[in-house]
């Protein structure tokens, strides 16, 4: 028997060696929590699919690993004083994976497609203010805007504004989401239900990169299985890592924990149009009644930081507020009594029905019970949530009293952290201002912030807005969760950015 097995094995091995890639090939496997929905970033709503498409596509701008804005396909830009006309100098000698040269015409084709509401792309809002794109020469393009918009570069850095090969757009039309062709470090190979495969782009414009030959993104929804993949080196990077599983990664000396602040703000929006939340003293009282350290400890096992302003500290123009709502039950009770609720009140809190949301809601419920506020927690399934909260047409029809939420402003800019959530003109269904918060000072500041590209003026506007919001407390400010991921120590240059996106351009396996 043995006489047969050995040659057979040898033959098999030789066969694999011949058929498969060379032994020195560097193959990276990444474990994801969900399936990729599409690979057309202009039509993507989830961070995970954005990360996937970012391996292949790039925009004029991007974010570095610290969430700082960096030019990618743009080299430089100029903007007029009113922030209505931007001119970009584009990078030369860049080609798409299909050989098409990258130039101003390619940018125009992409931006016109994204901005056109008729195309019904999910990320149309990024360029909704675009009036005209003018090709000045092969490597210069001017964007004319219908109204001033000071954060345009941040919008262009959003994955939604990444550039497809114009030839691919023409060839595949609506099917572009299955055939992404970009200028990025990796080229598309295949995409099945739960697995995306990409390979090294030999002609990448950054010299020496990428270093990995093949990257496989595999969706493994079950937390335990994902950890197991990492432990057995079947995957070299997995995310997210549930905080309660951190110990399992720490216990393994082949593995490394990634723990960094995110830009995901956690808060409870208080419907400021409804009693008793229409009284700022009540809202402040609720803020004083929450122990933020305990929140981080109980809900995120300590892997969370404070939300010390209306936006997380990793967003542009964030200002730490000097008068923090430090945990003080006596003060909270006094404020409630002053507002006419010495014995507290009853209220209902909505939120998603996922484990983490429910845990957070239970925590808030427990904390507020200490000042006599009795909360009913109602976890909502996402369809019900949309109907009950986001599709309500008139503020007076809103049934929401309190909503436990999270927000990740993926443009990395204060504007997208404030305008959709706290702008007086952003009530549902237009945006997500579920606190129904309207304050003239804040509205003026938010509008001023977006009306200029002058950083000093924008900083001042957002300082004013944040200060006023903090004082008015339309939210219970809870915290900013940390990004947690597990990675093999052999993997370097692979970044998990604050917006929850993955960057693998510089990745290497030792």
């Amino acid at each position: 028997m043995n006489r047969f097995v050995l040659p057979l094995l040898a033959g098999l091995l030789a066969g694999t060696a011949l058929a498969g890639p060379a032994f020195a090939a560097k193959d990276l496997v990444v474990g994801l929590p969900d399936n990729i929905t599409t690979l057309d970033p202009a039509d993507i709503n989830d961070t995970l699919s954005q990360s996937a498409s970012r391996t292949m596509l790039q925009g004029l701008f991007g974010f570095d690993k610290d969430m700082k804005l960096v030019p990618l396909l743009a080299e430089s830009f100029t903007v007029n004083d009113t922030a209505t006309e931007y001119t970009y100098r584009l990078r030369k000698n860049v080609t798409f994976h299909d050989g098409t040269p990258f130039n101003a015409q390619a940018v125009k084709t992409n931006f016109d497609r994204l901005a056109n509401p008729a195309n019904r792309l999910k990320r149309q809002s990024l360029l909704a203010m675009l009036a005209e794109t003018v090709v000045v020469d092969d490597y210069t393009i001017t964007l004319k805007l219908a109204q001033p918009f000071g954060a345009l570069n941040n919008n262009l850095a959003h994955p939604g504004a990444m550039i497809h090969s114009p030839k691919a757009l023409e060839t595949y039309g609506k099917e572009i989401g299955r055939h992404p062709v970009g200028t990025g470090p990796y080229k598309f190979v295949s995409w099945e239900a739960d697995t995306l495969k990409v390979e090294k782009n030999d002609k990448y414009w950054k010299p020496g990169l990428p270093k990995i030959d093949h990257v496989t993104l595999k969706s493994v929804p079950e937390n335990g299985s994902r950890i197991a993949m990492l432990q057995t080196n079947e995957a070299q990077f997995i995310y997210p890592l549930p905080s309660e599983m951190v110990k399992m990664v720490e216990a393994n000396n082949q593995l490394e924990l990634i723990d960094a602040p995110s830009i995901v703000a956690r808060y409870v929006a208080l419907n400021t149009m409804k009693k008793p939340f229409n009284d700022p003293r009540v809202r402040q009282a609720l803020n004083y009644a929450i122990d933020k350290n305990a929140y981080a400890k109980v809900v995120y096992r300590g892997y969370a930081g404070p939300l010390d302003s209306a936006i997380p500290s990793k967003l542009g123009f964030h200002v730490t507020q000097p008068n923090q709502y430090t945990y003080d039950l006596a003060k909270a009770k006094a404020l409630l009594a002053e507002a006419g609720y010495p014995n507290g009140f009853e209220a209902e809190m909505f939120g998603r029905n996922s484990t983490n949301f429910i845990r957070g809601m239970q925590f808030v419920q427990q904390q507020l019970s200490q000042i006599g506020v009795k909360l009913t927690v109602t976890p909502l399934e996402s369809g019900v949530e949309t109907a009950r909260i986001w599709s309500v047409e008139k503020p007076e029809d809103a049934t929401v009293q309190m909503n436990y939420s999270g927000w990740s402003a993926s443009t990395g800019d204060a504007d997208w952290g404030l305008r959709p959530l706290l702008w007086g003109k952003g009530f549902p269904p237009k945006f997500y201002n579920v606190a129904y918060y309207k304050n003239d000072t804040v509205d003026t500041a938010i509008e001023a912030g977006i009306a200029t590209a002058d950083d000093a003026k924008r900083a001042e506007a957002y300082r004013v807005a944040q200060e006023q919001i903090w004082k008015d407390a339309p939210w219970i400010f809870l915290g900013v969760e940390n990004l947690l991921a597990g990675k093999s120590k052999k993997l370097t240059g692979f970044y998990y950015v604050a917006d929850g996106g993955l960057q693998m351009e510089e990745a290497d396996l030792q």
């Binding site: 549930p242 309660e244 599983m245 110990k247 400890k297 109980v298 419920q365 427990q366």
Partner: protein, 296 residues
Amino acid sequence: MTTTDATGVAAAATHEAVRSPLREFWRKFRRNRTAMAAGFCLLALVLAAAAAPWIAPFDPAAFDYDRILEGPSAGHWAGTDAYGRDILSRILWGARISLSVGLLSVLLGGGAGVALGLIAGFRGGWIDSLIMRVCDVLLAFPGILLAIGIVAVLGPGVENVIYGVAIFSVPVFARLVRGSTLSLKRAVYVDAARAIGVRDRLLMVRHILPGTLPSVIVYVSMRIGTSILTAASLSFIGLGAQPPSPEWGAMLADGRSYIGVASHVTFYPGLAIFLTVLAFNLLGDGLRDALDPKLR
């Protein structure tokens, strides 16, 4: 024929007057040690649940963020959960919910099922067909799926879980009672009652219903176990008791994320569900052995 039988019964009654059905049942049941043990366990559980406010060492909702996810200790016999709440106290309080959900849903479902089964069996004809076909449809669903469907329609909450589980118990009882009714309705004593002009309704309630009771009682005890399990499952998937309720299934769901680091959070509520359901099933077995006329 009729005369002989009547004399026989009368004779037995005079000679063995001490052997009343209840006494007979007790004599048999007492000998079944397992069932007795299960019965005592359940009795203890019921007492503990009733006395929860006095015997639980902590308030089930009292949190202590300095003692989260602590293992069993002298202070907290079953450890603490993710909010530092005492798990033993929560299990005791949760026993009230689980037991009452189990009992109420079976009584509701059993009551309706018995009534329907009696009518179907006694009346026969199209009423029988109608009731039985509807029951067949309900029985065709896997139990938990039907309960999920019902609760999904009614909305989450303990009350709706009771209705959901009750509805899915109805066909089982209906079918059981219909079977006994069919055989009892041809029994001689029923014929006799009918012959002396007893009305149908009285006939059903007085003469047939008592005859079906032994099998119903057996089934009730077994079914309570199933109902507790179903209710816990519904709470586990978020359709039943809502936080911060210490319902056992909800406690399991709560602790599930910590199973790798603090397994006691899921172990003790799981153990409580396991033991309770086991006890009900063993009790049911014992009852059947003692009540089943065929085994006499």
